[in-house]
């Protein structure tokens, strides 16, 4: 009897030790990843509250001696020229991203619904053609799109950006939403049709509410993509008052190369809207990926 219980307890402790080994490995790894991820962002914040002089010291001030919000004040002050530019870039980015988001939801929802529900000839071909868009870099399309935009008179307008941004948000949006619609039983719609709803009513009242997480995820993805886009904005826009944030900041700081606190403050403020948006809605995003793209 005693030997049996001894073996059992020895086996258990051995297993616990092995499990603990994995768990400790995981913890150490997570601490490493946390440092890798967070330290650059912390350094950005610390630099942004230094004066220009304090930032350019060696060895650096690990913690600013005299923290100051000067850089933020300068960027957000509509009275001086820097602040005017920054606020205008911010506003431009907001308009372009919002327009892109609304349009891509309007275009992606019916397309995804059709790809999920209907079996028309060429459906698979069209579906994969849409997905293939994700494969190609912006640079391939840059020259011809520039010519195209010049031809239809959209160069130096925000319309050129919205039209282009639509296409790179669409493939993932359609793919995600199709997965959602695939998981919504057709019988629900059929029941609504039998009760006298039109196809459109059935769609609006039954399918749309059930696919809300997918639509939210799609919208976030489009917004973040448009907010952060750089190459097209860099190429299509040349007038200073139209620039979006990424290009605007780059233009501005290629002239003021040593103003690192200002640059870090601008980077921080440019990141705030998308980070907040994503953190608020990230559970929809992960859920949409799980239900829409991964689950089978």
């Amino acid at each position: 009897m005693s030997t049996v219980s001894e073996t059992i307890s020895r086996g258990q402790s051995a297993r616990r030790m092995r499990v603990d080994g994995w768990r400790w490995g995981g913890r150490v790894f997570l601490v490493f990843m946390l440092l890798y991820t967070a330290l650059p962002m912390i350094w950005m914040l610390l630099t942004s509250i230094k004066s220009g002089f304090a930032a350019m010291q060696f060895p650096p001030q690990w913690w600013p001696d005299q923290p100051t919000l000067d850089s933020y004040q300068k960027l957000l002050d509509p009275q001086n020229s820097v602040g005017q530019d920054f606020l205008r870039f911010f506003w431009n980015s907001l308009i372009v991203s919002t327009a892109t988001t609304i349009l891509s939801v309007i275009v992606a929802v019916p397309a995804a619904y059709a790809f999920s529900r209907f079996t028309f000839p060429g459906r698979n071909f069209l579906f994969f053609a849409v997905l293939l868009r994700n494969m190609f870099p912006a640079v391939i399309f840059l020259v011809p799109l520039f010519i195209l935009m010049r031809a239809i008179g959209l160069v130096n307008t925000h319309g050129s950006l919205v039209l282009t941004y639509l296409t790179f948000g669409l493939p993932l949006a359609i793919w995600l939403l199709k997965g959602f619609y695939d998981n919504i039983p057709v019988q629900l719609e059929q029941a609504a049709r039998i009760d006298g709803a039109t196809r459109f009513q059935a769609f609006m009242l039954i399918v749309m509410p059930l696919s809300t997480p997918g639509i939210i995820a799609t919208a976030i993805y489009s917004f973040i993509g448009a907010w952060n886009e750089y190459i097209y904005a860099y190429t299509f826009l040349s007038k200073n008052e139209q620039l979006t944030l990424p290009v605007g900041i780059q233009r501005f700081f290629s002239e003021n190369t040593t103003d690192f606190p200002g640059l870090m403050a601008a980077s921080f403020m440019m990141s705030v809207p998308v980070v907040v948006l994503f953190l608020l809605l990230q559970r929809y995003f992960v859920r949409a990926l799980t239900e829409g793209a991964v689950k089978h």
Partner: protein, 319 residues
């Protein structure tokens, strides 16, 4: 169905098949209305540019992009590319950049997803922090890291000096030998959260019962991972790796903002090189020929991407 049929019979069947497709298309004409907006946008912004790129690659177009004055040069642009030394250097850089970024992003992201799979206090906060680099703009990320790598006032250099590992702060991005690895570290910083999100979503689909059954049968943690979890994630992993590979192959912003391809082309990858050829030196023909080559490579990758995705589809149908 192996019976050899007459010519007339075959023709009739072909005809009826064709009219069948047309009839079906007609019957489903309303369905196309749903996809029409998406397809229209795609055609304008994709099909037309691809056609144009191919055409331009066979011409020499003047720097101002006056299309009427272009001169047909046949395959000259292509031979010019393949015989230049820069081409091979840039290709080598692209290969290292893509493979290293994809590999480490995937491994780190997958490991983070696994480590965060078990619930513990603060898991949600930790996961959210790890995702942030993926959300912020690549332009902001490039400036943050440029400042971190700064050769005089960078924090990494300062730490190395403080610890006594270096006499003076090293030049991370101004030196030919360290520039590419330094940029890859930035790229991984931005890309691993994507792998983490995908794999987190994938992990939630692994059936708990299977894992518990394996545990009862005496499988240890590694065996459970290797024989139960991992096979379940094969498809997600394939799609994730392919998407990462394509994204990395196509990256532009980080090398462009941080170094502009320098010093002496050491951090030029295909896309930055094409951009510089087109918009910097205005050699539209050569840049277009590069794009066509790139296009061919991506189509090959795209073939595997579609195969991986339709693998999912087929499984979906049978389930």
């Amino acid at each position: 169905m192996t019976i050899v049929s007459g010519k007339a019979d075959a023709r009739r069947r072909l005809q009826s098949a064709r009219s069948d497709v047309l009839r079906k298309m007609w019957e489903h004409r309303a369905d196309y209305a749903y996809v029409l907006p998406a397809i229209a946008v795609m055609l304008i912004v994709i099909a037309y540019p691809i056609y144009y790129t191919i055409e331009l690659s066979f011409f020499n177009t003047p720097p101002g992009l006056q299309l009427r004055d272009k001169i047909f040069v046949g395959f000259n642009n292509y031979t010019a590319i393949l015989t230049s030394g820069v081409f091979w250097q840039v290709t080598f850089n692209t290969l290292i950049w893509t493979v290293a970024s994809t590999f480490f992003s995937f491994v780190l992201g997958f490991a983070a997803a696994l480590a965060l799979h078990r619930d513990f206090v603060g898991r949600g906060v930790l996961r959210a922090i790890l995702i942030i680099p993926w959300v912020i703009s690549a332009v902001a990320a490039s400036y943050i890291w440029k400042w971190i790598y700064h050769s005089d006032f960078g924090i990494i250099g300062a730490i190395l000096v403080e610890l006594g590992w270096a006499e003076r702060p090293p030049n991370f991005i101004d030196s030919v030998s360290t520039v590419l690895p330094s940029l890859i570290v930035v790229n991984i910083w931005r890309e691993f959260p994507f792998a983490m999100i995908m794999m987190t979503a994938g992990l939630q689909t692994v059936p708990e019962q299977l894992l518990r059954a394996a545990k009862v049968d005496g499988a240890n943690a590694w065996q459970r991972f290797w024989h139960v979890t991992f096979p379940h994630l094969r498809n997600v992993s394939t799609v994730t790796i392919l998407l990462l590979a394509v994204a990395n192959f196509n990256s532009f912003i980080i090398p462009w903002i941080m170094t502009g391809g320098g010093p002496s082309n050491a951090s030029h990858i295909w896309i930055t090189h094409i951009y510089e050829l087109a918009f910097g030196r205005q050699r539209w023909g050569v840049a277009s020929a590069y794009s066509v080559l790139l296009f061919i490579i991506l189509m090959t990758l795209g073939y595997f991407y579609v195969r991986a995705l339709s693998g999912n589809e087929r499984k979906d149908g049978s389930a």
